[in-house]
Amino acid sequence: MTSDINVAGVERWASALGGAALAAYGIRQLKDRSPSGAALTAAGTALIYRGATGHCPMYSAAGINTADSRDDTRTALSGARGVNVQETVTISRPADELYRFWRSFELLPSFMHHLVSVEQLDQCRSHWVAKAPAGRTIEWNAEIINEIPGELIGWRTLDGSEVVSAGSVRFKPAPGGRGTEVRVRLQYDPPGGKLGSTIAWMFGEEPSQTIREDLRRFKRLMETGEIPTTDGQPRGNR
């Protein structure tokens, strides 16, 4: 929760992945006019010069008992409302490194393809922009409600947001030195009406598949430094 943790995090992150490599990756995506590319370049640059944001000192004030509720999103959305999704992946990297990358919310669009950008407003709050149908975007604010450095991040959308959702990501060392089990829980309330359908659209017909693909891209980025693709390769006439 101190600024020296931030700097250490950036250094570690940069050595594992290469801040420059990430920026380059973003620039390439930018050429492809991908909005996440723009975000990634900005984030990469921001990280290189500014360092990642710190932990939220306020999460206990949000009324969540960190010891008990852990990664239970139901506390945040008061009950098992809406849609619940849970996905797990094992990543061959240390928990600490994965946590630090994820905690740099600006970087999330690099592997969460429905996101356009995430901006850290202060240590607790962040502003999210996601793709919506017909080329539009949808925005909301979120706050961290639970955080154990190196282990857990929990968040929920702020009161008054048009999207009602909560989530958590937990990083647990895997047995036998296999790296880290990353478990994401996501809960969202799809109310009727326009916005309800937007969030349903965002996560598709199979929300767990969307989360699984996000996690898969996260794993690949962290393990290999890139996300495999064939977009832009040659092919014959169709």
Binding site: R28, E223, P228, T230
Partner: protein, 395 residues
């Protein structure tokens, strides 16, 4: 550039397509000097592998010269001469770290497709359906190689393309098939299929210490090659009952290990093979596994059935009771090519093996469509075709 493009069952064409470019930091672009057609490509030609799309560039056995590298690729440089493994692997995941390269977790962009069918996905492959990554293949003048800091092996100038090209697939594939047999002194290995993979498996079984190898096929020139090039005994299944003959040749015991180098398009004259033919032709089955059935049936008690031949779906009428009753061990899968490239290159360099003995046809890439059919129909004594994408070159 020119490339061999799949358009549908029995429809392979040579077309002009855009040149490939670097897409990821660890990529490289290779100017292909020699490429080959594999028995696996025939499964695509015949429409047995799902998730192909018209316009897909074929080819997974190729080598050439590095002409461009991505920013993070520090292992290769422009001008390097390399052979590229057909499996694409990241080098850093759980599976790569355990030398299970063809099971890499990170190289298939369409892993979800394979997961739907198989539970989990193997590695990406060049030119081998969208389920396996949808990567453009190397039967082309240029090809993009992802994770090119892991797979490609550098080749010195003293060796010809023909001597080293098959490090990309069939030599490691035959070698792994033989290694999987766990060969002990005195062992007899039976090999179904004397195509290029079978030939490499036979040669490798001897290299690994087999006493005898029995080669099974019904194509005379392929049986002849197995005998002349490697010293195998042969069984022509047109003339003989395979099970009876194998039993007779092994003093009544059965072969210690059986290699199925045929795969899902086996043919034959037994009742079960007609049954498979009808069922696959009418879309009621995915594979024609009669060589595999025979291998299981003929294998000695406690033996190994090693399966380099490709299977895709749900296999009908498998004699699993026989496998169980005899306590057989099964080994199979796409080859972990990277594991074998260096040791096998050493064997080639020492002159212990020259895998080019299988080549019967050397053609310019423009003749690929006819070459596919010649190879499939085993016309003109065709056993292995190599293609020259830029015409003849120095190597």
């Amino acid at each position: 550039m020119k490339a061999v493009v799949w358009h549908g069952t029995n429809d392979v064409r040579v077309e002009r397509v855009p040149d490939p470019t670097i897409l990821n930091p660890r990529d490289a672009i290779i100017r292909v000097t020699t490429t080959a057609i594999c028995g696996s490509d025939l499964h695509l030609l015949d429409g047995f592998i799902p998730t192909m799309k018209a316009g897909d560039i074929l080819g997974h056995e190729f080598m050439g010269e590095v002409v461009d590298v991505g920013t993070e690729n520090t292992r290769l440089k422009v001008g390097d001469r390399v052979v590229v493994p057909f499996t694409i692997a990241c080098g850093r995941c759980f599976f790569c770290e355990r030398q299970l390269w063809s099971l890499c977790d990170n190289s298939n962009p369409n892993a979800w497709m394979a997961e739907k069918l198989y539970g989990f996905s193997g590695s990406g492959l060049f030119g081998y359906s969208h389920m396996m990554g949808g990567y453009a293949g190397g039967q082309a003048q240029f090809v993009r190689v992802p994770f090119a800091d892991v797979g490609p092996i550098k080749i010195s100038d003293g060796l010809t393309d023909e001597q080293v090209l098959f490090l990309s697939d069939i030599f490691p594939t035959g070698y792994m098939a033989a290694e999987n047999c766990n060969i002990n002194p005195g062992d007899t290995i039976a090999v179904w299929g004397c195509g290029p993979v079978g030939q490499m498996a036979i040669k490798s079984a001897f290299l690994l210490g087999a006493e005898r190898v029995i080669a099974i096929d019904d194509v005379p020139e392929r049986l002849k090659m197995a005998q002349e090039q490697s010293g195998a005994e042969t069984v022509n299944f047109d003339d003989e009952q395979v099970f009876d003959r194998l039993k007779d040749l092994t003093g009544g015991m059965g072969p210690d290990a059986c290699i199925d180098a045929v795969g899902l398009e086996a043919h034959g004259h037994t009742l079960d093979s007609y049954y498979d033919k009808v069922k696959t032709a009418t879309m009621m089955a995915t594979d024609r596994p009669n060589a595999l059935r025979q291998a299981i049936h003929a294998c000695r008690k406690g033996g190994v059935v090693s399966i380099p031949g490709v299977y895709g779906g749900f296999l009908d009428k498998m004699p699993f009771g026989a496998a169980f009753a005899k306590g057989l061990t099964f080994k199979m899968g796409q080859t972990h090519v990277m594991k074998y490239m260096q040791p096998l290159l050493d064997l080639v360099q020492e002159g212990a093996v020259d895998p080019s003995f299988v080549i019967t046809h050397r053609l310019p890439i423009d003749q690929a469509p006819e070459a596919y059919k010649t190879f499939r129909d085993k016309k003109n004594e065709c056993i292995k075709v190599i293609l020259k994408p830029h015409g003849e070159t120095v190597h």
